[in-house]
């Protein structure tokens, strides 16, 4: 009976985390995950579990992010930092094509397969921005194959949301598609919530439920440090076979569930999503937009850190001879003036219009466009806003101003 | 007069007026005809009539030194020309010139003003209709002012 109940969960000890790395590397994956860099936990290529932010945690609030030492050796004892996985699936800057002038026109060259990089070239070196023009630097000749370690539930939802944008319509983005299909995902259930987290409100966490190959819950006991593993795919099961593991006991599974349940109760923020689309649609002219615009620096930080923001621009460049041209796609932000420029001027010239565009898109128009909210409650936009603008507070203010508003009680999410 | 009455009664501008009022208006109406190039009225002249254009095209012009006559607006079949007859001091602000052979019904403004004073119901009905014309011209002028096809920066 116990066996039947624990069939879906397995246990491997902390010491075997290296085996996970090895299993993934052996399969040709470039392992990326959280690591400490410049005072923040960011996502980078990792060489071993030692690169993980062992014993670190983060303290987050509006406009505030600090790393702090934990009094244990947890591998995942923090929440999300300024990076998200979108930088691997939807690169911040990528060359779409190169073109060479010919006598009677021009030729378009796609990937420069003539000079592929050495097999051990780190991914980061392949994505160098061009210095003016870079006819000799190829974009990755073969699609990168990433294994993401430590993907949080909100981030799984963010990836699913970007899937709808780049794969779900009449057109498919080939850059995204190949990276996405190749990606191996090791999710981690959050053992604690951050000060700006509100995934529980958005129904996007803290427990990973879909979209992973393996999902881990980290458990630290005085005498034991281990992971409860859930297998999401056959691919995940195959990787698990390479790690010494055993079926979980019911107590271990319960403990893992309790950890996640406790996290859900710790959310630093909450957002009432009741009829949120209608709420924002009927408040396009609300005075609150002027108030938030008075604070907003239109710096675009929120869009850069947001794991679902997908806007991009293209840049066409030539070399000095005018013989070679390239088109690069880079992340863009609806907070810039250029974003909405049509001949004569920008459609959204005021900060008010740009903040309103961003927030209304995230929480309302996104639902019409893609059948889902564009917000996963990760809290990054709150933490990384230099003036601590808080999307949950903005929604609350608009909601509270409505005549028939009833205050929703805490914890009712 | 039979014909004029029918024409006026069927014109959208007069739609909804009762027969008695139509009768009063017809009493002030005459058929007129202007050749291409002929002035219908000139800026500064007394404004004592308005026109229901039946055929042709009329340009409202203003003379700008150095530029010559500038056409502000053209009016054609079915449109009403002139509302200065309604508003003191009853002077035309623009020239009106037929740019092609134009036939119209002229309505004597002095005659109508007197009838409107006697019969405020008629006055109100006419004012309502002219208010609509003035509103249309004002909206069009505002849109024209925006210079929507120009390059702005």
């Amino acid at each position: 009976m116990t066996q039947a109940q624990t069939f879906e969960r397995f246990i491997f000890d902390r010491q075997y985390f290296l085996s996970l790395f090895e299993a993934l590397t052996r399969r040709g994956y470039c392992v990326v995950g959280p690591t400490v860099c410049d005072g923040a936990i960011v996502y980078q290529e990792l060489t071993s579990p030692d690169d993980l932010p062992i014993g670190w945690t983060d303290q987050q609030d509006g406009g505030t992010y600090r790393l702090k030492r934990r009094n244990d050796q947890a591998l995942f004892g923090y929440v999300v930092g300024p990076h998200s996985w979108k930088k691997f699936l939807f690169p911040p800057r990528i060359r779409l094509f190169r073109a060479r002038r010919t006598e009677r026109g021009f030729n378009i060259v796609l990937n420069d397969v003539a000079s592929p990089p050495a097999p051990d070239t780190p991914y980061s070196a392949l994505n160098d921005p061009p210095s003016g023009i870079s006819p000799s630097i190829p974009i990755h000749p073969t699609a990168p194959k990433f294994a993401f370690i430590g993907v949080r539930s909100c981030e799984l939802h963010a990836i699913a949301i970007q899937d709808k944008v780049f794969l779900g319509g009449a057109y498919v983005d080939p850059t995204y598609k190949v990276r996405r299909e190749n990606a191996f995902i090791v999710a981690v259930n959050c053992g604690q919530a951050g000060g700006t987290c509100f995934c529980a409100s958005m129904n996007t966490g803290p427990k990973a439920t879909v979209g992973f190959d393996l999902a881990l819950t980290e458990i630290l006991e005085p005498a034991r440090h281990y992971f409860v593993v859930e297998v999401g795919t056959d691919r995940g099961a195959a990787v698990l076979q390479d790690i010494p593991h055993r079926p979980a006991h019911i107590e271990e599974v319960q403990l893992a569930e309790e950890i996640v349940a406790r996290t859900a109760r710790q959310m630093g923020r909450q957002l009432d999503t009741t009829d949120i689309k209608e709420l924002l649609y009927r408040n396009y002219e609300h005075p609150r937009w002027d108030q938030v615009a008075a604070r907003c620096l239109t710096c675009a930080n929120c869009t850069m850190v947001c794991p679902t923001c997908f806007c991009s621009t293209v840049e066409d460049v030539t070399d000095l001879t005018g013989e070679h041209a390239e088109r690069w796609r880079t992340w863009d932000s609806c907070f810039t003036m250029d974003f909405s420029y049509i001949h004569g001027g920008s459609v959204r010239a005021s900060a008010k219009a740009r903040y309103r565009q961003w927030m209304t898109h995230k929480l309302a128009t996104w639902i019409d466009q893609f059948g889902t909210s564009g917000c996963v409650g990760c809290g990054r936009c709150i933490t990384w806003c230099p003036v601590a603008i808080d999307i949950t507070e903005e929604v609350r203010a608009i909601r509270a101003s409505e005549p028939n508003h009833k205050e929703k009680t805490d914890g009712n999410t | 007069m039979e014909t004029l009455e029918r024409i006026l009664a069927e014109h959208p501008f007069f739609a909804g007026l009762d027969a008695r009022h139509i009768q009063l208006i017809v009493g002030c109406a005459t058929n007129v005809r202007f050749d291409a190039g002929q002035f219908i009225f000139r800026e500064g002249e007394e404004a004592n009539e308005f026109y229901v254009i039946r055929h042709g095209k009329v340009a409202l012009e203003v003379f700008v030194p150095g530029r010559g006559p500038v056409t502000i607006q053209t009016l054609g079949e079915g449109e009403i020309l002139g509302w200065s007859w309604l508003i003191p001091p009853y002077h035309w602000h623009f020239n009106a010139r037929a740019i092609e052979l134009t036939r119209a019904i002229a309505l004597d403004g002095k005659c109508l003003r007197a009838k409107c004073e006697d019969d405020h119901d008629l006055g109100y009905e006419l004012l309502k209709r002219f208010a609509h014309i003035v509103e249309q011209r004002l909206q069009a002028t505002r849109l024209q002012l925006l210079d929507v096809y120009g390059v702005h920066s």
């Binding site: 094509f97 073109a99 378009i108 498919v172 049509i342 | 607006q73 069009a140 929507v148």
Partner: protein, 276 residues
């Protein structure tokens, strides 16, 4: 190799025609014989000038002629300026066609009113070609066209030909008369109240600057044309034309894929919101 919607195909300019002081028409044919280019009236292409940039331009040719792609462009920015210097034989990158189209089939059996302002006549021209080639399927067909000045009137020769046609009512007006202009003076909306169509059985297709379309739609509604029977073509910044770049959002819509042609009912409220 997966087909990448961001990669342009090469088209050679077979003809350049100056339309007005700041507009020109390019006729393009594929460099590689790729067969035919089929599009629906109202759709647009992304045109790429080597090394300079790429912009959305509506298609203004005859949909029945799939060998030539025609674009009429106004010089308003870097890319259009560069495009204006191209000559016969030069090559452009083309992606498309993209977007929604004018309801030319749905309009069968009805009167059709086409209201164009300025360069807005260019995206409506394919609809006119289409309708005139099946003229018997429509009721009255009326073209109301407003330009800034007589010198800014596009497709003069064609307008002359259409005007001479007994089964098409063409009314042209200018905001400002110049020179010896003998035609109408006044904004294009002033043509609507007396234009010959049956408002209850009319499909209206409107293209021009946004303000002009707003006023036009109001005037058409006043005349009695239903909000579902009025169609507008919207313009927004576009980088990709396939729904990825996010630039062309207009409320919940993406102009590139939900538009550019929208039923008035769908965008009416959005048009009233400033800086949307």
């Amino acid at each position: 190799m997966m087909s990448d919607p961001m990669i342009p195909r090469q088209y050679r300019i077979s003809r350049v025609r100056r339309e007005t002081a700041d507009t020109f028409t390019l006729e393009l044919t594929p460099v590689q014989d790729e067969g035919t280019f089929s599009f629906a009236p109202g759709q647009f292409n992304m045109l790429y000038v080597f090394g300079v940039g790429e912009i959305p331009i509506s298609i203004s040719g005859d949909p029945a002629n799939p060998r030539t792609v025609v674009h009429t462009t106004r010089v308003v920015g870097t890319v259009t300026r560069a495009m204006g210097t191209l000559k016969r034989g030069d090559v452009l990158g083309v992606r498309g066609p993209f977007g929604s189209h004018w309801p030319v089939e749905e309009a069968e059996g009805n009167d059709v009113v086409i209201v164009a302002g300025g360069i807005g006549l260019a995206p409506l021209r394919p609809a006119l070609f289409y309708i005139l080639s099946r003229r018997e399927k429509y009721g009255r067909v009326v073209l109301l066209y407003g330009a800034r000045t007589p010198e800014d009137i596009l497709y003069r020769r064609e307008l002359g030909r259409w005007r001479a046609q007994f089964d098409l009512d063409v009314y042209v007006t200018v905001d400002r008369a110049t020179g010896g202009w003998r035609g109408n003076v006044g904004v294009v909306t002033t043509l609507i109240p007396r234009a010959p169509f049956d408002p209850l059985n009319t499909v209206a297709m409107v293209c021009g600057p946004e303000v002009m379309m707003r006023f036009t739609a109001l005037e058409l509604r006043k005349r009695g044309v239903g909000a579902d029977n009025i169609f507008l073509s919207m313009e927004r910044n576009m980088k990709c034309a396939v729904g990825f770049c996010g630039h062309c959002q207009f409320g919940p819509t993406f102009v590139c894929k939900d538009g550019p042609v929208f039923p008035y009912r769908r965008v009416k409220d959005l048009l009233a919101i400033w800086e949307l």
